[in-house]
């Protein structure tokens, strides 16, 4: 096959055995790869507990990994979440996707549970399990130092102390500067006794039509070069994702003090420019990426992404840039999701009324990762923490997943998108920031729900396709599926169009919605914390940031259900499942 390898590696950690699955080409064409295929293989086990040995941990590539298609460096890791009742899914950067593909595998399906910590090492078609007991207690940085010293070209995904200590939002660190951060996939991996994945591939992805792929690549690069957000003088390519920091501040939608405010007075001193002045960062990026939005300082330390910079400053009322950078580093080293860590800390600070110094922030985060004292409660995430402390409404989460750094009162499409996203409070499912704030492909009225139901549905479908090809969502600030369909066809030989990819994306997304319904999630779970309907944000500068109108929100959510093909309870229907070619059991 072109594009796909045709082989999926099965790993049984109970028996220490491996096998190979060779799906039909039709299955690949139906789910594309990445997030789509991972969801297909999770579905039969979707109702098992996150720590059930039979619950699979899925790592999947797509047809564009390892090719000249722009931004081909993503991979999907999927399983059940220990943090939320929803499907856990993360698109992760670095080299993981490329190396797995180059090793000859479209994906990994890992089941069972090892009695002692093991590492899975894959070198091309050879896979073996290796004792990893000696890595217990080491930070991810030390693990990377130890395991990649002799194989610097290998991709490494590993969990850190947070996963060992049961932190529900533990992450999987990938290639030192990247992470499968959200939903607690690090803990799911640790529950299997799997400490790390080391992958080295020397093969290459066969491309059906290299000339056509070159043309598609040129079209996409031309569009990204024309994008001020991506390649402009203030764009992600120059400043990394912290470029968004000033924008969210100026639009008065920067979550501040656990979302009690939408503007942080100190923001101008903590922005991307301040990071550049203070740390002189270098650009880094995923395999094959031309945008290179990661920032690394002179010592090789990852600097915060926009989300973690915002949460470790405004959300917790911290105006110490060094402390924010150190907090981010601590999350990376201990293997924790910085968004959930920051938001859970903000929840605690609101409940206790404590004002924290930089040193106290780091102390609390370290205690979280190590399960010490109050940190043990923080490690359970904001929803459990707030319920335990008697203030459930102070958890700023959806479906138990903490909200990212966009206040929904400042962008109503984002409000709807955060509420209905399949993995919980996720900004990436539909990413309406693109049109509500960044004006791409055109600007929409950010203070209106008009038309947003279908916009969100189409964007969710698009991003599900993007995660399955895969490509980076940032590229879609400039390019579209129109251009990527050409790349997909060039690589695989499958005739395709933007609309074909959207249909595949709809299938991928609906499958996740079915899995959530199987776990009892309904429309009641597609909701935002009550604060956003009761409290105004910080208006000023000609911008009025009002509390969301509850009736308008509910109306938009109802419309979303109709557009998405859900029933009045937000549950999938057999009719839509059948239309999309998805298995359906009443």
């Amino acid at each position: 096959m072109n594009g796909w390898t045709g082989s999926i590696l099965l790993v049984d950690l109970d028996r220490g055995e491996t096998g190979v699955l060779r799906p039909d080409r039709a299955l690949y064409a139906k789910f594309l790869g990445g997030r789509g295929l991972a969801g297909h293989f999770l579905r039969p086990k979707a109702t098992l507990a996150w720590d059930d040995p039979e619950t699979p941990l899925l790592v999947f590539t797509g047809p564009l990994n390892g090719t000249a298609s722009p931004t081909p460096g993503r991979a999907t890791i999927m399983s059940r979440s220990p943090l939320t009742p929803a499907t856990a899914c993360s698109s992760v950067g670095g080299r993981l996707g490329r190396e797995l593909k180059n090793a000859g595998w479209d994906g990994l399906i890992i089941t069972g549970k090892s009695a002692r910590p093991v590492g899975l090492e894959i070198r091309d078609r050879e896979a073996r399990l290796v004792d990893a007991s000696m890595l217990a207690g080491l930070t991810t940085g030390r693990i990377f130092d130890r395991l990649t010293a002799s194989e610097p070209k290998a991709s490494l995904a590993a969990t850190g102390p947070a996963a060992e200590n049961g932190v529900l939002f533990a992450s999987i660190a990938v290639d030192r500067h990247h992470a499968a951060g959200r939903s607690g996939l690090g803990l799911t991996m640790a529950a299997k006794g799997l400490k790390y994945l080391l992958i080295l591939g020397t093969g290459r992805t066969e491309v059906h039509d290299p000339a056509m792929l070159k043309q598609a690549r040129q079209d996409i690069l031309r569009l990204t070069a024309a994008s001020p957000v991506l390649m402009g003088g203030l764009g992600l390519s120059r400043y990394g994702t912290p470029a968004l920091y000033d924008l969210m501040h100026s639009r008065r939608m920067m979550p501040t003090d656990n979302f009690r405010h939408t503007r942080f007075e100190a923001a101008a001193r903590l922005n991307a420019h301040a990071l550049v002045q203070r740390f002189r960062p270098k650009a880094a990026g995923c395999a094959g990426c031309h945008i290179r939005c990661k920032r690394v300082d002179e010592s090789g330390r990852s600097l915060p992404e926009f989300e973690s910079l915002s949460h470790f400053t405004a959300l917790i009322g911290n105006d110490d840039l060094d402390a924010a950078v150190a907090a981010n580093e601590l999350c990376n080293e201990y293997g924790m999701d910085a968004i959930s860590a920051g938001a859970t800390l903000a929840c605690l600070l609101e409940i206790t009324g404590e004002e924290v110094s930089g040193a106290r922030i780091l102390e609390l985060l370290r205690d979280t990762a190590l399960g010490r004292g109050l940190g043990a409660d923080l490690g359970r995430g904001s929803r459990r923490l707030a319920e335990y402390m008697g203030w459930p409404e102070k958890s700023m989460s959806v479906k138990g997943l903490e909200l990212p750094a966009y206040d929904p009162r400042g962008a109503y499409g984002m409000a709807l998108a955060l509420a209905v996203a399949t993995r919980g409070g996720c900004h990436l499912a539909a990413y309406p920031v693109s049109h509500e704030i960044l004006r791409k492909p055109v600007a929409t009225d950010r203070f209106s729900f008009s038309g947003k139901a279908r916009m969100i549905k189409i964007a969710e479908d698009m991003n599900a396709a993007v995660d399955s090809l895969p490509a980076c969502k940032f590229t879609f600030f400039a390019a579209g599926l129109e251009e990527y369909a050409k790349a997909y066809t060039a690589v695989t030989g499958e005739p395709s169009s933007a609309q074909d990819l959207l249909l595949a994306g709809e299938r991928v997304y609906y499958n996740e919605r079915i899995m959530n319904a199987l776990n009892g999630l309904t429309i009641k779970d597609d909701d935002l914390p009550v604060r956003f309907f009761e409290d105004d944000g910080d208006s000023g500068g000609g911008v009025s940031v009002k509390a969301l109108d509850r009736d308008e929100f509910l109306d938009a959510r109802e419309r979303y259900c109709r557009v998405r093909g859900l029933d009045e309870h937000g549950r999938p229907t057999g009719q839509t499942a059948q239309r999309l070619g998805l298995e359906w059991n009443d």
Binding site: A226, V442, A443
Partner: protein
């Protein structure tokens, strides 16, 4: 949604792209809404079942665009491939459908943003769709008209030069030329600078943008405007409509100390380089049609870079006294941010302006927007006269 469909239907008429009563605009959230009744609506409504879209525009362009699109679609019955910057970057090509059926239109719209299609009542319509806003359909239709215009006049000049212009083409050309409006009138008097306050600068930017649109010097909302005030450069936002710039201007610090201008025009880098390297305060960028046509008319048939003119033109070209430079949109490795500023700031460039190949004109001034708008009008009218002179002379450049 209703507000938007009515807004963009009216805007198509106001821009001279469609005759009154012509545009059909639809928007879909959970229910489909149209701006007006029409017998062709049922067929167009089928498109919403065949495609994952939320908006659609269908309209026969007004003259001279109708003649131009008709001729191009007859000449290139499956796909039209303009070479201007907008098409190359955003539309790629312009598909043509053989019949006004949802199936035929969907076939094209599955791959592209617009399709040219025979209209049941005669002539050809442009159907364009979007997944975010009816504004997308407006922009794509406008871009099709602009790209068609540039290709039509470019091809005719080139084929006349080569003696290849056929009778039907000559007829179409004469008809289209007959519909051309009068040359652009003299510029109205704009606010006098230098501007000393933010309010003045913003008002002057909005005024300059509005007149640029009103005078037909830019298609849809493409183009950009900026003004330097102290340590800030005020510049129109990306995708902002030049005739609606109120609230759509980003203040960008000259020292890059804030990224709040992340939503600024894709040409921010070029504007910054010009104001940093010169005394220029005001910059106005538009897409005057004949200026774009002539920027692409080069007589060097045996040039080794033929086909790559937009990024690798090796010559020092000028049109009507204004330098022409290559460059893609934006600040990429082949971007105009690298070619435009040196051309504008060159000691021997007395115009304070430069033309980017196949794209448009950038004009600058030290004080306010009066001279920039005058320059744009003078160059466009000179290019129009020059075009017809070249044509009368057998097409010689």
């Amino acid at each position: 949604m209703e507000r938007l469909i009515n807004k963009y239907a009216a805007k198509l008429i106001r821009a001279g792209l469609c005759d009154p009563g012509e545009p059909l605009v639809a928007g879909l959230d959970d229910e489909l809404v149209w701006n007006r009744e029409d017998d062709i609506r049922p067929e167009l409504e089928r498109l919403f079942k065949l495609l994952s879209i939320n908006s659609l525009v269908c309209a026969r362009p007004a003259e001279p665009f109708q003649t131009i699109i008709n001729h191009l679609a007859d000449k290139h019955p499956t796909v039209i491939r303009p070479q201007d910057c907008e098409t190359r970057t955003f539309l790629h090509d312009l598909p043509v459908a053989p019949e006004f059926s949802a199936r035929a239109m969907a076939e094209a719209l599955r791959r592209r943003k617009s399709v040219i299609v025979p209209h049941p009542e005669g002539g050809r319509a442009v159907v364009a769709c979007g997944a975010v806003s009816p504004e997308q359909g407006f922009v794509f239709l406008s871009s099709v008209c602009f790209a068609g215009f540039v290709l039509f006049f470019s091809e005719h000049l080139d084929e006349t030069r080569k003696g290849l212009a056929k009778k039907d083409q000559v007829r179409a050309f004469e008809r289209a030329a007959g519909f051309l409006p009068e040359p652009v009138p003299a510029a109205p008097r704009l606010m006098s600078g230098p501007f000393l306050s933010e309010d003045e600068a913003l008002a002057a930017i909005a005024q300059a943008g509005r007149h640029t649109v009103d005078l037909g010097l830019v298609d849809s909302y493409f183009g950009n405007v900026s003004y330097r005030l102290g340590d800030l450069l005020y510049i129109s936002q990306t995708g902002s409509s030049l005739d609606e710039l109120e609230g759509c201007v980003d203040p960008c610090p000259m020292d890059d100390s804030s990224c709040a201008g992340l939503t600024a025009s894709s040409e921010l880098t070029a504007h910054m380089a010009i104001v940093r390297g010169s005394q220029a305060r005001a910059i106005l960028h538009g897409h005057p049609r004949f200026t774009v046509v002539l920027s692409m008319d080069c007589g060097l048939a045996d040039c080794p870079e033929r086909g790559q003119c937009h990024v690798r033109c090796p010559g020092r070209r000028s049109v009507c006294g204004v330098p022409v430079v290559p460059g893609e949109v934006g600040a990429g490795p082949l971007g105009l941010a690298r070619t435009l500023p040196p051309a504008i700031m060159a000691p021997d460039n007395e115009s304070g302006a430069a033309i980017v190949y196949g794209h448009g004109l950038f004009a600058t001034d030290h004080t306010d927007f009066n001279r920039t708008l005058e320059t744009m009008i003078e160059v466009e009218n000179a290019c129009r006269a020059e075009y017809f002179e070249r044509l009368a002379g057998g097409g010689g450049a």
